[in-house]
Symmetry: C2
Amino acid sequence: MKSLHVEFFKSVVGAENVYDDKAHLLAYSYDATKNHYEPDAVIFPRNEEEISKILTYCNENKIIITPRGAGSGFTGGALPADGGIILALEKHMNKILEIDMENLVAVVQPGVINMDLQRVVEAKGLFYPPDPASQDYSTLGGNVSENAGGMRAAKYGITKDFVMALRAVLPNGEVIRAGKRTIKDVAGYNVAGILIASEGTLAVITEITLKLLAKPKLSKSAMGVFPTVQKAMEAVFKTMASGVTPVAMEFLDNLSIRAVEQKFHKGLPVDAGAILITTVDGNLDEEIINQLEIIENSFFNNGCSEFKIAKDKEEENDLWFARRNASQSITIYGSKKLNEDITVPRSKLPALLEEVDKISKKYSVKIPCFGHTGDGNVHTNVMVNGSDEKELKAGHDAIVEVFKATVKLGGTLSGEHGIGLSKAPFMGLAFSDAEMELFRSIKRAFDPNNILNPSKMGL
Amino acid sequence: MKSLHVEFFKSVVGAENVYDDKAHLLAYSYDATKNHYEPDAVIFPRNEEEISKILTYCNENKIIITPRGAGSGFTGGALPADGGIILALEKHMNKILEIDMENLVAVVQPGVINMDLQRVVEAKGLFYPPDPASQDYSTLGGNVSENAGGMRAAKYGITKDFVMALRAVLPNGEVIRAGKRTIKDVAGYNVAGILIASEGTLAVITEITLKLLAKPKLSKSAMGVFPTVQKAMEAVFKTMASGVTPVAMEFLDNLSIRAVEQKFHKGLPVDAGAILITTVDGNLDEEIINQLEIIENSFFNNGCSEFKIAKDKEEENDLWFARRNASQSITIYGSKKLNEDITVPRSKLPALLEEVDKISKKYSVKIPCFGHTGDGNVHTNVMVNGSDEKELKAGHDAIVEVFKATVKLGGTLSGEHGIGLSKAPFMGLAFSDAEMELFRSIKRAFDPNNILNPSKMGL
């Protein structure tokens, strides 16, 4: 990067917040995809005003900017694919600014870690439901930019359902506010709505106002064992349609169950086609009992062979152990995991899992599946030997077929992870030319010089 | 309108669906604002393909289009302020296409009346919560375009919280899909999110996919009487923050109570500063009892002098009578109602009502208030003698001050009604130049020739 530019950035944020040494460039060149792209400089802005000055300058000088939270994304959203500067928000822009107990609202900077907010609000009897698997390290700015989901989405929805307002800096340096600390606000276009899930391509988010709930006082978990994955998937959508809305309704298929058992010897039902693990919550014992009864009945009506309710916290942890350790356990099937987060309408889950089985056989690759079936979101993991070129190709071909089957069933390429770089080549499977052209028009409306996180989302 | 254009439209939708006679132009020249703007033609398209052909033609010939549902909007969103054609969707595009019991989803055309959907889904044990006061005649297309709210927003949210996917025709005639029949979908920009509340300025919505809930089995209503409106407003936000989320938490101030009593003689507490009317719902008696206990305690801790729970349906109707008839009753205070739907964070309700009181005294106009305090939404009605120019001006000046007070308290110009023509002059009070310029950029991205509902939203 030209020293002229570096000097300008130092004059804005201080010399101690601008780096272009090899160590920093390397440290900020990767994310959870394990791909590498080196930026030309890494900048740690201290406030919105500095971000505004940096964007104004970059816009005038056509310098590319990639905003970055924790860099824990699975699709390369925070990777500087075209060089330029990394705007790293986790160092200074990481304050919880306000917990408004009167309106049940939190105001945070983008670099706040999801779990840090959860802990602070729960200590006050409040509740922030979105719980992506990365919750211990991913930032709320990243969560908003990717519209993160999680296990509790079945009942509580995803990040977008909790964003009330945003402050952001446009590529031209202008600061905008979008939304209000009110449930209702219909003045002007819903700019907050389009900034959510925009993967850092439209503006740099500088402040997030989130809706909080009162924390439910009680919760209980249960597990059901099913002979086949199809039966389990039918049980999922029929249970969800029966009038009960569990907080979570997660599943593991046979391959995932076997993997966890092989690694941890927990006495899991290794011959089961699938297990479902569910949690209900509420404020009264009667609510908990009632919900679990409905679920138990529905499970048994749909082929469940065993239903177990956790009696205490320890048993609950045991029930959830398999689900929590599925992701790391399935590595027994291959050194390289091609991990997708497709989502279909719940009633299409049986058909989806059938298609995945066919694809697995066709390409001779193992595809263990687990995930958030309560909202139709299945983590399909194509496992291959990463050093075997032929197998890797078969894996990638299998993924394309999984995407095609998903779209055919009315589903989406991504329920949680976003498009970024990884899924960009597949946008054409899901969107028409007119839809892609509209995306590009929206991008131009916000960022006419294309300086903000270009090359993402297949635009 | 040139006969050439009329002939083209007839060739697309059939002669029986194109009108440019005086009677039709007049019939489609008004909405609930009672303002009049005559269109040049009224067209009743029969399907999406016809809408696409009409938009393509209008875009090429720079003919202005105003999409219209029931014309029941309060801000002129459906008025053809600049002439051109009215695209009337209520005649043919009014089918409920699907009630998907497996995924709890409804698919409807834009001309379906809100209450018609509610009735159909409730007969199946399901529930569509958004209930604008216009629910008996307003269309779901209009509800989406204005992001309609209602009484049940305090617990269930507003229209945007139920829209899962849309089909729409862009001004260039291209058909796009936005969103999916899934809770999670993070592929591509959230185009559905920006079409909601865009007041027909970005695209013509042709199909709406809505989330449904299981219908709660039980509900119960109660009323609290308060000595002052400030006490009542404090009770509102403290109750909502105490861990209970009632379906509705509505209020009437003293002027509104007196107006209903004068008109209907129901034995209402005419000396009360305000009454709060609330409803809770759930599936178990224990839930209902528990919620009402929390509310009762919170009300009494905040100055409530009387709390009454409706014992049966009849008593419930009695409790709600005052709220349902407030709007028509307050006309005793003036022939012309300047009716606004400002919304503030709930904790600012006491301060807002105090400001309204001051403004009322300053301009010597009565401002009865009632509305959806559970979500901070207050219908402020400046009542004047419509034939008294001086009083009318005082009323309008008072409204400007109400807007200013609202914005100062972190609130919004509109919680439900949108901006349209009526509130367009006040956009500058709420939005910066940069924010207005961004709105215009978004408008241009969708509609470069500005043919779709121009002159709305102060753009």
